[in-house]
């Protein structure tokens, strides 16, 4: 048997192996190319870009484009740089991610361990919200925000993103908790733990992988959102809108080096989240998606 399986197994000779690595390397370089272009051009003076090769390394290294993008570049009419908008994004994204993840976890807990008549319908309707395109809800959302007095504010954006995110987070947590043994919940009930105690002491401690999935998903989605930010941001627009205003300005010289620096700044937080929590991402997706 062993001989047979060896004969039919994929041959991994040296040549094949070298070829595979070469191919992988090429792909990796290809995907890294945009980042390289952004990186090198964000540390060059503007003349080097306009006058020469985009791909070349800088002749004069400078961090001025970064300083400019961060604190002095013209965003719209104000020369504030991206700094205040970065802060807006942080103020929006942190509470929105936290609230939608916690609510999603609670929903998942109720939908699997405290089932009630019609719970599958409720879940189905929540799932439905994952498929509603952003554009459809813009006008009703504007009306609601206006009535609540939250239009054009960070809390308004938080509300929008929480509402939009709950469908996804509920889906993740429900499927994860469906595989969680109900006997544990029953044991805790007999032990005298209440609704929130069971959630807090029994379920949450083992929810690490799926919480990471939920956080990454929500963080990238909310951070990268442009439409809601542009529509409901008002005076507290997020980073994405500011970046657009920086890059799309139709007057003056196009400062490509500053634009590159700004774009990297806008992408940096999601990159950090992926690098820090990324290895749990796939694991959690697998755990949450298959069973249920």
């Amino acid at each position: 048997m062993a001989a047979v399986t060896q004969d039919t197994a994929v041959s991994t000779g040296r040549v094949t192996r070298a070829f595979i690595y070469l191919l992988l390397l090429l792909f990796a370089l290809f995907y890294l190319l945009p980042l390289y272009v952004m990186g090198v051009n964000s540390v060059k003076p503007l003349e080097e870009i306009t006058g020469g090769n985009m791909m070349a390394l800088p002749q004069v290294w400078t961090l001025d484009p970064w300083r400019s993008a961060w604190s002095t570049a013209q965003i719209g009419v104000e020369p504030t740089g991206l700094k205040p908008y970065f802060l807006n994004s942080i103020l929006m994204v942190v509470p929105a991610v936290a609230i939608s993840t916690i609510v999603g976890a609670l929903n998942g807990y109720v939908l699997t361990k405290w089932r009630f008549r019609g719970d599958t319908w409720v879940f189905g309707l929540m799932l439905f919200s994952c498929f509603i395109p952003f554009q459809i809800v813009l006008i009703p959302m504007a009306v609601v925000l206006g009535k609540l007095g939250l239009a054009g504010s960070v809390p308004g954006l938080i509300l929008v993103h929480v509402v939009y995110g709950i469908g996804f987070t509920t889906l993740y947590f429900r499927n994860y908790y469906a595989a969680f043994p109900t006997e544990l919940v029953r044991a805790a009930q007999i032990d005298g733990a209440g609704f929130f105690q069971i959630f807090w002491r029994i379920l949450l401690p083992v929810s690490g992988p799926i919480a990471v999935v939920s956080v990454i998903w929500q963080f990238t989605n909310i951070w990268n959102d442009f439409l809601f930010g542009a529509s409901f941001g008002g005076t507290s627009q997020p980073m994405t809108v500011a970046l657009n205003n920086l890059v799309q300005s139709s007057t003056g010289v196009k400062e490509y080096n500053v634009h590159f620096a700004g774009a990297i700044l806008a992408a940096l937080p999601t990159l950090v989240v992926y690098i820090v929590a990324g290895r749990y991402f796939v694991r959690g997706l697998m755990a949450g998606s298959v069973k249920g």
Binding site: L184, A187, A188, Q189, I190, D191, G192, A193, R201
Partner: protein, 370 residues
């Protein structure tokens, strides 16, 4: 009135009644085993005692207090689950004291209770480990420990041994029995394993299809099963159920059965009351150990009947030899001494202990005698 009273309890899901008027009074210190095949309602009944499932009709009282609608944690019960249900994120010690913590017992008292129980179950060295680091038997002990720490009125066990391998199961069975003898606690224990039921219990409730088929001591259940279901469910190998006819010889009732060759053989009943059934068909129930070789027959029995029959198969099991024959058109098993000289295909004179025979009505399947 018992310590734990189950009075006329029914359970329905929608229009389907799954438990029908269950009536059991459990005395203090009793070890009641609910036994039956899967889907018989035994776990449902246990969950109703625990308060994990609602009671549709009737009432359940613990220590004279009706607990219908009372939250599980307020019933002063503890439960050991089939999967042990240990909290994976807590250490063994935390697992065991979680219930006390939730009930607001102060820490020094919790520590004392934990130390006592850990010593009793010999798990003191495991207290800092996580459940994932324990073997099956150790988890089982921890699960029992978690129940014991609370010092509840009633212990509920839901098939606690079915996840263990065969040898460990026997050891833990003895352990549980020792524990019960030592602590004299009231226990309700659910299992589908009739040997567990026989060995552990002081009383057994045999359940099937949502009905309690028979409630009695292990001996009553084994020797005088209420009906054909109980007779065949309890005991391994199962009781032989042989179609027979009641005939009178000199005014004394006998069971007439056909042997492997279709010839009629008669076995005298020990009870004269069967005269009324003369000429009628019955099912004759005889346990395998009541059909033996003549030397191995029970000397205290007052009614050993000889039965000559052809042997179909012999199965030596080491301690005994099981012999299969055809009786009344069905296979019947006899349990012989290990060194009884029996060979397949040959005729043999079996000794049937008719004192242990049970007769059933074929129509109602209920026991007629003894």
């Amino acid at each position: 009135m018992g310590f734990l009273d189950i009075r006329n309890v029914t359970k329905s899901y929608g229009n389907v009644e799954v438990l029908h008027r269950v009536d059991i009074a459990v005395e203090e210190g009793e070890f009641l085993v609910l036994v039956g095949p899967s889907g018989c309602g035994k776990s449902t009944l246990l969950n109703m005692i625990a308060g994990l499932e609602g009671i549709t009709g009737g009432e359940i009282a613990i220590k004279g207090r009706v607990v219908n609608g009372v939250h599980p944690s307020k019933r002063n019960i503890a439960m050991v689950f089939q999967s042990y249900a240990l909290y994976p994120n807590m250490t063994v010690g935390q697992n065991m004291t979680f219930g006390l913590e939730m009930h607001g017992v102060p820490k020094p008292e919790r520590e004392r209770a934990l130390a006592d129980v850990a010593k009793l179950l010999q798990i003191d060295h495991l207290l800092d480990r996580k459940p994932g680091q324990l073997s099956g038997g150790q988890r089982q002990r921890v699960a029992m420990g978690r129940a014991l720490v609370r010092n509840p009125d009633v212990f509920l066990f839901d098939e606690p041994l079915s996840n263990l391998d065969a040898k460990l199961r026997v050891d833990m069975r003895t352990e549980i029995k020792k524990l019960h003898q030592k602590l004299k606690t009231t226990i309700v224990y659910v299992t589908h394993d009739q040997i567990e039921a026989m060995t552990l219990s002081t009383r057994i409730a045999v359940m099937n299809k949502g009905y309690v088929q028979q409630l009695g001591t292990p001996k009553e259940i084994y020797d005088t099963p209420a009906n054909l279901f109980v007779a065949t469910f309890m005991g391994s190998p199962a009781m032989n159920i042989i179609p027979a006819k009641v005939v009178l010889r000199d005014g004394v009732p006998h069971a007439a059965v056909t042997d492997a060759d279709g010839a009629e053989r008669v076995l005298r009943f020990s009870q004269p009351s069967l005269t009324a059934w003369e000429g009628k068909d019955i099912h004759l129930g005889i346990r395998p150990e009541a059909i033996t070789d003549p030397e191995g027959a029970d000397r205290k029995s007052g009614n050993i009947q000889s039965l000559s029959n052809r042997v179909t198969v012999t199965e030596p099991a080491g301690s005994d030899t099981f012999v299969t024959m055809t009786l009344g058109g069905r296979d019947a098993i006899a349990r012989m001494r290990a060194d009884a000289s029996v060979a397949a295909g040959q005729s043999y004179d079996f000794a049937v202990n008719m004192d242990k025979a049970v007769a059933f009505d074929p129509a109602t399947e209920a026991r007629i005698l003894p």
